[in-house]
């Protein structure tokens, strides 16, 4: 087994934590793992992408164009930006939310309409309104646990391992709400 996973989104959405949970889970299941992260200026509200690769032996820490098995996107436009990284038969999981880049706010560019429909013409796309679920649980910050739960069945890892890693990584006070968020995401169609 080998998996190339990309987690994309907007700086500040928690993509880094999600990649660490997936990577740690893969290690627990006995795989070689590499994760590549984004730090520094690029994190400041910009487009961010992290990579998680696991399998018997992993060389480069990044996933290149045409090589991703799964893209988990925390925002619609970012799913569109990186969709071409998918390999044939790969899937995209999209959190259905819109964050306008400054190029759109200033009017220099327009935010594309119908992104999910466009993506569906070429790719297998699974979308979820993660904010709505997070809000219904009373904390918008558990968004990444919802999205992780929703993505869980596509990662080639035991769902129980992912849940346990999540429990071990989030702050102790927030374990319950994060696990609930994970479950809600996992149960969503």
């Amino acid at each position: 087994m080998s998996k190339n996973v990309m987690i994309v989104g907007v700086g500040g959405q928690g993509t880094l934590l999600t990649s660490r949970i997936i990577g740690k889970s893969a290690l627990k299941e006995g795989y070689d793992v590499k994760i590549s992260e984004v730090h520094g200026m690029a994190q400041r509200g910009g487009s961010v992408v992290t990579f998680v690769r696991y399998g018997d032996k992993v060389s480069e820490p990044v996933v290149e164009e045409g090589c991703a098995d799964v893209i988990i996107s925390f925002e619609r436009l970012e799913a569109m930006r990186y969709a071409h990284y998918l390999k044939q038969g790969g899937i995209i999981v999209v959190n259905d939310c819109r964050i306008d880049p400054m190029t759109v706010v200033t009017g220099a560019k327009t935010y594309p309409e119908g992104i999910i429909e466009t993506l569906k013409q070429t790719y297998s796309v699974y979308s979820i309104d993660g904010q709505e679920i997070a809000k219904s649980l009373g904390n918008s910050k558990v968004l990444n646990s919802v999205v992780l739960g929703y993505s869980a069945r596509h990662l080639g890892l035991n769902v129980e391992t992912l849940k346990q890693t999540l429990e071990s990584i989030v702050p102790p006070k927030t374990v319950e709400i994060n696990v609930n968020a994970f479950k809600k995401g996992y149960e969503s169609k």
Binding site: V10, G11, G12, R20, G23, K24, L27, D32, V33, K34, I35, S36, E37, V38, H39, G40, M41, A42, Q43, R44, G45, G46, S47, V58, S59, E60, P61, V62, E64, E65, G66, C67, L77, E78, M80, R81, A83, H84, Y85, L86, I99, D100, P101, M102, T103, V104, V105, T106, A108, K109, T110, Y111, P112, T118, T122, Y123, Q131, S140
Partner: protein, 579 residues
Amino acid sequence: MENKIIMLGNEAIARGAYEAGVKVSSAYPGTPSTEISEALAKYPEVYTEWAPNEKVAVEVAFGASVAGVRTLACMKHVGLNVASDPIYTFAYTGVNGGAVIVVADDPGLASSQNEQDTRMIARSCHVPVLEPSDSQEAKDFVKLGYEISEKYDTPVILRTTTKLAHSQSVVTLEDRVEIEDKPYERNVSKYVMMPAAAKGRHKVVEQRELDLAEDANVLSVNKIEKGSDKIGFITSGICYEYVKEACPNASVLKLGLVNPLPKKLIENFVKSVEKVYVFEELEPVIEEQIKSWGLNVLGKELFTKQGEYSANLLKKVVYGKSDEVYAKLETPNRPPILCPGCPHRSVFSVLNKLKIHASGDIGCYTLGAVAPLSVIDTCVCMGASISALHGMEKARGKDFIKNWVAVIGDGTFLHTGVNSLINMVYNKATGTVIILDNRTTGMTGHQEHAATGKTLKGEDAYAINLVDLCKAIGVPSVKEINAFDVKGLEEALKESLNGNVLTVIIAKAPCALLKGQKFLTKCAIDKDACKKCGMCLKIGCPAISKRNGEIVIDETMCNGCGLCKNYCKFGAIKVVENV
């Protein structure tokens, strides 16, 4: 603790220093090197500190080495420029306790102002360079660095790049080795670099480099992985991983020590393979040396000096094709921006309104160069905002800078900006300097500095008062203003720009991402009052956008700073309680 864990390259470097028995570490934060010191600070056995700049950090390491303990200094590539003064001569003195200097290069400029190559500087100062390929090697090479440092009596540079520093891979942990402090003996001809002594040491440096180059032929980290006779690669660092990914059957000479080079080993490798590529990011440091020996290798005639490499790039060049991929979809760019509630935005909104140009500096606030704020005109290096403004005044007279200011962060000001301000005082400048004091080193992820009142270890410390500091060096007019007081800022700016005295305005408010803050308010649009004029969009806050003709504020992103309210003529933005 589990023995086998996933570690960030930078955490693995820290672990290596810990295991090697390092006792003293000094560093200045800089992406992609910052996490090394943060991770090392968690080991109580190691004294760690943030120095005000990289030169100071290396000098601290020099002192610790002379005193007989293993020591570490860390910085990003441009920090090496600041630190190169002590390093060039540290190479002459050599060490007592082992010394490793970690320098993190940033090919691809994830968070830097240039793409310089540390190996070039290391060659000119005759310091050995080790370059790891993953986190396990990062840890192992730090430990090897101390062995080389002590055996060959030299500081050693461990060079990393962004991909190595910020990738995580599996590491096996080992115990710390406690190293006994070496006795200190006064040795003027070794440690006092006046001309007569330095002449003698220069000979030592050259001989040492020759010795190490010879030994490098059999050094364990320089190794040949025999594969195809037709195609081979000489490579190091993260590039090795790209070679293994793209051409797993090729022969590879993997160099762990990239300065000095193992000539015999390279000659044998080149002769044993039909076609040899040198695969190195940035400058052709390895390639040019090999070619100077009359050997036939391929390098920069095929591969760029710019940006990061990849397995796809290698496949394209070597096989003339890459894997088939889906077509890239057209999408609007999403460049990095100042966060919601960022105090810099408030200051820049005032500069933008008054049509003032800013001589900029290194930090998040460099983002003030881009639309819609568009106030920063120059950015070169740490501290340059102030000196550049001074240069403009001396070039064109004081009227030329009537619509100019220098802007610099609190951390950057203490790094090297204070020197530039001393120059302004001394040489009769009249300009206006704004210190954007957000109480932290922001862009690198909130490191303490000499004015925050805390050390790297989290202990209480004396907090330098920036007002007192500016007054003490003789700045005639120093004002401290809340960064969100746009009226106060406007008045202070008008007064100083119309006046004739050097003025420092300290615009103070904590970084919006700084931990421990409570945001008690949120901003909301009163839809009935909103005329949709779009003035609030001109401050470039990511929480505000226009959707289907309506202005909306994203309540999860808004930090309630209220800056937007100041720019709404119709009172349509309300600051409400954050529930």
